[in-house]
Symmetry: C2
Amino acid sequence: MKVAVIGAGLIGQAWAIVFARGGCDVQLWDGDEQALDTARALVARQVAELEKQRLLHDAASVMSRIRTSASLEEALNGAQYVQENLPEKLEVKKEIFSKLDTLSDARAVLASSTSSIPASAFTEHLPGRHRCLVAHPVNPPYLIPVVELCGAPWTDKSVVETARSLHASVGQKPVVVHKELEGFVLNRLQGALLREAFRLVQNGYISVEDLDTTVKDGLGLRWAFMGPFETIDLNAPDGLQDYCNRYGGMYQSIAREQTSVDPWDVKVVDNIEQQRRSLLPKTELLDRRLWRDERLMELLRLKNMTDPVVPD
Amino acid sequence: MKVAVIGAGLIGQAWAIVFARGGCDVQLWDGDEQALDTARALVARQVAELEKQRLLHDAASVMSRIRTSASLEEALNGAQYVQENLPEKLEVKKEIFSKLDTLSDARAVLASSTSSIPASAFTEHLPGRHRCLVAHPVNPPYLIPVVELCGAPWTDKSVVETARSLHASVGQKPVVVHKELEGFVLNRLQGALLREAFRLVQNGYISVEDLDTTVKDGLGLRWAFMGPFETIDLNAPDGLQDYCNRYGGMYQSIAREQTSVDPWDVKVVDNIEQQRRSLLPKTELLDRRLWRDERLMELLRLKNMTDPVVPD
């Protein structure tokens, strides 16, 4: 399987690793030749680190499957799947998708990593619009496996299905979003929880630190391997419906106090920022991101034991 | 430190384990003598399992610190902290707290495990109401360490502080909820996310299985060791405020579609229940709960490596 990765920034680099780790031949391209050289070095470093962390098997063979391409034509040559990662600007997406549709094999699937622009906004004008979709990763996709697949109204169901099998075959966890919507699913769920978190801090119910503790030492533990529906399904003797009968009233009553649509208040954001900075000075953000990635790697190794993410 | 655990159902049993594992002497009491015998056997079995799972060090010494008491007076004798776990009925709570206030040492802290009744509803009439609060666990507290502490308006700050240090000293993760509110914090956050999850399934955007995947292989991974505020703090180059500036507009726009306060629709609940039953037949609920507890144990062992929960 040949995959073209278009755009060699952080997300493009990460996709190259994911597909090469999963056994695909990757052709990586960027309009900026120097960016491409930098990308190759950064990918090599990250692949070595993942091998050290036992999150891939053979760094050398993974690297041997990643080639950089001197031109877009070369990158697309023979590719059955294309993952695009250019800047989040509508005009940029329109232009690159026109080129991809013209230059790629007519049967290739064309996917964009965009987190904010629906496929319909940049594919409507294309003869090959039926083969275009969004495949939205969480950064970095070699540590966080979910991928949200969301087509335009004219995207073929079989194209979504092809993308789903490809991502599953390289160890990702694709989910299908059946109709376009702002934020797809992950950020909408995150937004709903964040809004309540901001509200509780704003109204003096809890500190930023304690709110995070409530999630990381409570709610988030089960969600890390079950998700919210399975969690409540197991939390009432007779399953989910039983849970809804028991607690639906309480949740509805709470929901009546969760309807604000105001922007996040500037003073509240200031207050939360200050609380975060007293917990973690700005100078330590970078170190803490490395710490986060180590924790994600440990968690992924743990989940691999029962449910392998890294293909053999 | 002597702790009285009042009520020997599942939550009472679990608290006995938590406090004895943390080095306290536990006096366990229940109005039903047979329930008390059953509880002792179940606690012994669970303590042995936790030792096997390397989540406590010495089952025999933990068990030696748990005694069952023949009377409420005996259970309260010398106890500096009382954790009450009777049925979730206001009248039951009122009656037991009157007894606890009368019979316990005047300096003892009196805490209820209630998840739904605020402390003010069952302590207002008591001479010792300043020493009463809610200490709400997540089940089972020996695997899920967060405890929500929430006093009534008349609860002494020093009493909340005493409860906080005690819970922290036995390896729990206490958080302080500064004012009474329905659902405390954990269930309000859960409710906000669940409401959006129901909405997305109801409107045909995603399946139950894929929604759970979005959380367990995406959102929930970071929340399992960071919480939502630290997550966004690390997700923009310059920290949380930077994140809010970049994405606040998107989240506000999404929030405008998240304002429904209708009860969960019966047909939607039916639909979700059916999807869950095709993923997990009702006959397998029990096995899956054991699977869940094993995963929680693994996750706890992993978190113990960097941030010990089980005290030595």
